[in-house]
Symmetry: C2
Subunit: 407 residues, 2 copies
């Protein structure tokens, strides 16, 4: 008998019918003899409804009170799911984040989990009950309700799985697993049986939005196996777990891409210490997140070129901040481009295999795709190209690395 | 500087605009230098929405989980009202029933308040904040969410006023006070400046549904002055308070009526001990509430006639239960009538004035209104008449006792 934490997202609990369907899935899982703890999100649309109610009142709304309001979304779902379970003769009990005591810091709207009290849940499991916990929410030292930010229900599920030493944390969603790349772009994209935490972190942060990145960090830190599955079809999904040393590693696990970035280049910046800080400081002071950063020494050695990417929504603001700063620093020129896309190869196999970068660059070159920026980490290679090459680039790379074939 | 508890019902917080309006009323009250604690209901329509969600899942829904669901209605309102207050620069903090720690028993859906912890609220008031509390809800010893039943927000407000030793508990609603009778029936009905707890209890239970009866009982028990006011117009409303011995008492405060009753008569019941219990026991075992009960000794001394009233919704079931039981007891006949109305004169002045009953009976007789049942208490006289006489009966009594004139 194992303990399984299951998490169902907003679309999986989006209607009375779907909640009934979830109740049946939970009962089926329990019939296999496992203890089941369920984490649910708000019914799809509900969080948006609450957000617009709040914003019609004040924008931004008071942070503490916004969380009081938002947390009702998941509370509705836990009540309804337990009603559905009990109506089917399955003993169940619901808990809000505050009732479990999912202790968080007091950073309203984006709180971090500090500790989970698992005593009550253990008692219920021992008594043969299914426990249903509201995702996305907690309570601070002071007893105030907090929320973990959008997508925080995944984090709740993984944190609960950790606290309860669950065998597996199952994330039910509207896709049936993690794919080698977006199947809407490459029809032959393949569902991965297994992917390592590190690879998943790179995939998620690069735009394959299956799981909230914080939940993967959490799972990785505490070594909790996470399985992504469809709540609408049966199937094994994709297991996200520690690297399995005994298995032959795939060279490349997948291709991620991000269409939401824009790049800004500062040319001819005097090459002296602190220059990066001065340019990027102005950007981060405005709460704009910077993704890739690349700096090259200029040919003449006295000045340097500096390029970075930001979210497209922040592009205009960042460009004007940097233009002002560049003038101040005596840089030659600032230019920007918001018609770019970042394409990334991800795979732990890269660590031990040379030649992957050159295969990537050659493949793109063969199609006449010009690479504007390159950035690498231990398990990923990212390139920035003109956005018109997104589909072509991803497809030829998917073929070149034979990702449609199982490892 | 006084402490005032204000309660706003569902229609008063039924939209973003109305919640903004409530925020302004709260701020205006606070500007007078008083400490303000606000109790709110769910936005009108919200509780019905949640009830039908639950019932589409299971009917009846699991009681504990039903309360988890229902309690979200008020939680939405406290969040929104605090957002509105904070946006206007008024420091405010919201609390659910569980956060205050409004301790109740574990009778889900109809819990009773056992104790209120006022420490946190006092701290906030001392810090200059408006405190906004979710009505209708509490928490049991075990930490489970409970609700007090429909209309329970009034009870929350009065209980908080008691715990905080508030100067006044103001109930804002869609009427501007308690009237001598229903103004839709008697256009000259007059708003009462003041009414005693006992009179209000008789008025409320008899069908003048301004305040939930439990909240009046609570206020009476703890001597908390309650004021009923309109949330849409300014005005002094009606003060519900202990009897004021120094004032000249009005003979009659008001005329209540109840159109929702039906009567059942058992004729020729053997007159022996326990007979009332045997007849009414069958009815109350079916959870049917009995209102008036009248028994007369029959002329021959050996048998008796027995009449009682129930809610019209329960009439058919009660009639068939009593018919079966009457047969068993050897009663001569059972008959019923669901075309009746109960009209009641209410007034503490009755205690010291004779002749009120005879004035009432003469007034009705003058109009040819036949009285079917009479029942009296210390401060009320109720008669049952054919329902077609409702308007006529109330109007002639209102005139006879000169209720349009202030005492």
């Amino acid at each position: 008998m194992a303990l399984i934490v299951q998490k169902y997202g907003g679309t999986s609990v989006g209607s009375v019918e779907r909640i009934n369907h979830v109740a049946e899935k939970v009962i089926a899982a329990r019939a296999k003899g496992d203890d089941i703890v369920v984490v649910v999100s708000a019914m799809s649309g509900e969080t948006n409804r609450l957000v617009s109610l709040a914003k019609s009142m004040a924008d931004p709304p008071n942070a503490r009170e916004f969380d009081v309001l938002l947390s009702t979304g998941e509370q509705v779902t836990i009540g309804l799911l337990c009603i559905a379970l009990e109506a089917r003769g399955c003993p169940a009990r619901s808990y809000t984040g505050s009732q479990v005591r999912i202790l968080t810091d007091s950073a309203y709207n984006k709180a971090r989990i500090l500790n989970i009290d698992n005593e009550r849940i253990q008692q219920d499991l021992t008594a043969g009950r299914v426990v249903v916990v509201a995702g996305f929410q907690g309570v601070d030292e002071d007893g105030s309700i907090t929320t973990l930010g959008r997508g925080g229900s995944d984090t709740t599920a993984v944190a609960l799985a950790t606290a309860l030493k669950a065998e597996e944390c199952q994330i039910y969603t509207d896709v049936d697993g993690v794919y080698t790349t977006d199947p809407r772009i490459v029809s032959r994209a393949r569902r991965l049986e297994r992917i390592s935490f590190e690879e998943m972190l790179e995939m998620a942060s690069l735009g394959s939005k299956v799981l909230q990145i914080r939940s993967v960090e959490f799972a990785s830190k505490y070594n909790v196996p996470v399985r992504v599955l469809s709540s609408f079809e049966d199937g094994p999904g994709t297991l996200i777990a520690p690297e399995d040393e005994t298995m032959e590693q795939a060279l490349i696990s997948g291709i991620a891409f991000n269409k939401d970035e824009a790049k800004i280049t500062v040319l001819g910046v005097p090459d002296r210490p602190g220059i990066a800080y001065q340019i990027l400081g102005a950007v981060s002071d405005a709460n704009i997140e910077v993704d890739m950063i690349i700096q090259n020494v200029a040919p003449d050695g006295s000045s340097t070129d500096f390029t970075f990417t930001v979210h497209r929504n922040d592009y205009k603001q960042a460009l004007s901040l940097v233009t002002a700063k560049a003038k101040e620093l005596g840089a030659r020129e600032v230019n920007g481009d918001d018609c770019i896309v970042k394409i990334s190869l991800v795979g732990v196999g890269m660590r031990s295999h040379a030649g992957i970068a050159s295969t990537m660059f050659r493949t793109l070159a063969n199609e006449g795709i010009n690479i504007q920026m390159i950035s690498t980490s231990e398990i990923k290679i990212s390139v920035v190209v003109n956005e018109k090459y997104l589909e072509l680039g991803v497809r030829v790379l998917h073929d070149a690395f034979k990702l449609e074939e199982a490892a």
